[in-house]
């Protein structure tokens, strides 16, 4: 990645897609909001019924369409609203994370976190941490659709 793109002076901001489970992490995000905690606006939250709903193709599609990082957040193991959804997603997403890294994606760009409905502070912290890591890495070009254009990126490339 070129250093110019990574330069804070050029105004590049990462785009992070967070898939949040309806019952824990989304409510955790809600709590962060109602408690007036700040977390970076780079994070775009997509609500899903359960972390077990995550199809690995969602993650690939996010990277294709311009995400610099993807986060999946679900209930803590044992706390799933549907009893076992996150136990299954733990296995699936572990395998998927490994194969993403195997084809060359930086490990920081795809993460999974367990955040409960009462952990508004943890939600804000995790979003902060993820944004910080992605900012340090710079824009993602791997697996990105060649036709995808970012407004801020194309401005810098001119």
């Amino acid at each position: 990645m070129s250093a110019a793109l990574n330069d804070p002076a050029t105004g590049w901001e990462p785009l992070i897609v967070a898939f949040c489970c309806n019952w824990c992490s989304y409510a955790g995000g809600d709590l962060a909001g109602t408690s007036r905690m700040n977390y970076p606006a780079n994070v775009k939250v997509i609500r899903v019924p359960c972390s077990g709903r995550i199809n690995p193709m969602f993650i690939l599609r996010a990277f294709q369409r311009g995400a610099d990082g993807v986060l999946v957040a679900g209930c803590h193991p044992g706390d799933c609203h549907y009893s076992t959804g996150n136990y299954h997603s733990r296995r699936r997403l572990s395998a998927f994370k490994r194969i993403l890294e195997f084809v060359g994606l930086e490990p920081e760009r795809f993460e999974v976190r367990w955040i409960s409905a009462s952990e508004g502070d943890k939600f804000a912290e995790e979003m902060e941490a993820m944004t910080g890591k992605i900012k340090a890495l710079g824009p993602n070009r791997k697996m990105r659709d060649a036709r995808w254009k970012s407004k801020s990126l194309s401005k810098q490339l001119k």
């Binding site: 690939l60 997403l93 572990s94 395998a95 490994r98 194969i99 060359g104 060649a146």
Partner: protein, 324 residues
């Protein structure tokens, strides 16, 4: 040995002809010689005349269990010749409830490994006219001279890595089993790639996958790809774009390999049929290796009673990400 192989063919024919001609099975899935001497293609035998074309030689690489899904729609009972990998594929289909055990008769063939035509021409040159096999060696016949090579060195990559040459499920074993083998270098290629940096790995895969024609031959032969509608052809949502570019290549190959997590029987058919030689098994083996490391040793297709790792869980499972 040429005679020994044809002797074996005779024995196979004899074993299956009773069942086929006696009406115990409606169809026999086997192999016949293809257009060239180095090809053995699937044979769908329904009569004594069809059965005359049956062969069992060193080129019967095609996995016959793959045809059961379609053929069982039209036939009541089918006989299949199964090598080690075909039998594991059968178990895989059984586990997905795609085939019914009582509608299939399996004739077990312990498999010494299949020869790779690409390797044969590499050693014997493109004017190779034929081969003679003798106890563990292969004589390559060219116009000028004959060259003798150990058989092991001419095998398909997947057969060099094969750990279970004997069928794990059968109704009738036609020859003496060869016994399981140790393959210490099974994950060697995967481990070498793991040692590279993320950017180096990305460059490697971008280059390898850039050859992909999206012919989907790898999916077509695969015993775990048994969905009636594959995601690549789905129109809504349209997961797989048609554009020729890295992002679509990654989409197809990652998802294809990922669908085999804990289900890939390591038969290497995908890699064998790939017309542009993409090392697909490196992706599949990486997933096998990770599942073994994280959730305990599992070999798909060996035991249909054992639950595939992604269909089950333990509350104390480890994860490949931080769980703080």
């Amino acid at each position: 040995m040429e005679e020994q192989i044809s002797e074996q063919t005779v024995k196979v024919k004899k074993a299956v002809s009773q069942d086929l001609l006696g009406g115990r099975i409606d169809l026999l899935l086997g192999w016949e010689k293809g257009h060239y001497w180095w090809q053995s293609r699937p044979l769908f035998a329904r009569s004594e005349k069809d059965l005359e074309r049956l062969v069992w030689d060193s080129f019967c690489a095609v996995n016959l269990s793959r045809y059961l899904q379609d053929e069982l729609k039209e036939n009541k009972k089918i006989g299949v010749l199964v090598k080690g990998c075909d039998a594991r594929a059968f178990n895989r289909l059984l586990q997905d409830r795609i085939v019914e055990r009582e509608r299939v008769i399996l004739y077990g063939l312990p498999c010494p490994g299949m020869l790779d035509y690409a390797r044969l021409t590499e050693e014997g040159g493109s004017d190779l006219e034929g081969i003679i096999e003798q106890d563990g060696t292969v004589i390559l016949q060219t116009k000028e001279e004959n060259k003798e090579m150990p058989r092991e060195e001419l095998l398909l990559a997947r057969c060099r890595n094969c750990m279970h040459p004997d069928p794990v499920v059968y109704d009738q074993m036609l020859f003496t089993p060869l016994g399981d083998r140790e393959r210490p270098e099974h994950f060697k290629a995967v481990e070498e790639l793991e040692r590279l940096s993320a950017d180096e790995r990305y460059t490697y895969w971008e280059k390898e996958l850039s050859r992909c024609l999206r012919c989907y031959a790898c999916r077509q032969v695969c015993p775990y790809c048994s969905c009636l509608e594959c995601f690549v052809e789905q129109k809504s949502p349209r997961w797989q774009g048609r554009a020729y570019q890295p992002s679509e290549n990654f989409m197809f190959h990652l998802v294809r390999a990922y669908h085999g997590t804990g289900r890939c029987i390591d038969c290497g058919e995908c890699e064998r049929v790939c017309p542009v030689g993409i090392p697909l098994m490196e992706l599949n083996r990486k997933l096998i290796k990770d599942i073994n490391e994280l959730y305990g040793h599992y070999e798909a297709g060996l035991d249909p009673e054992q639950e595939p790792p992604l269909l089950t869980y333990r509350p104390d499972d480890p994860a490949a990400f931080s769980e703080k």
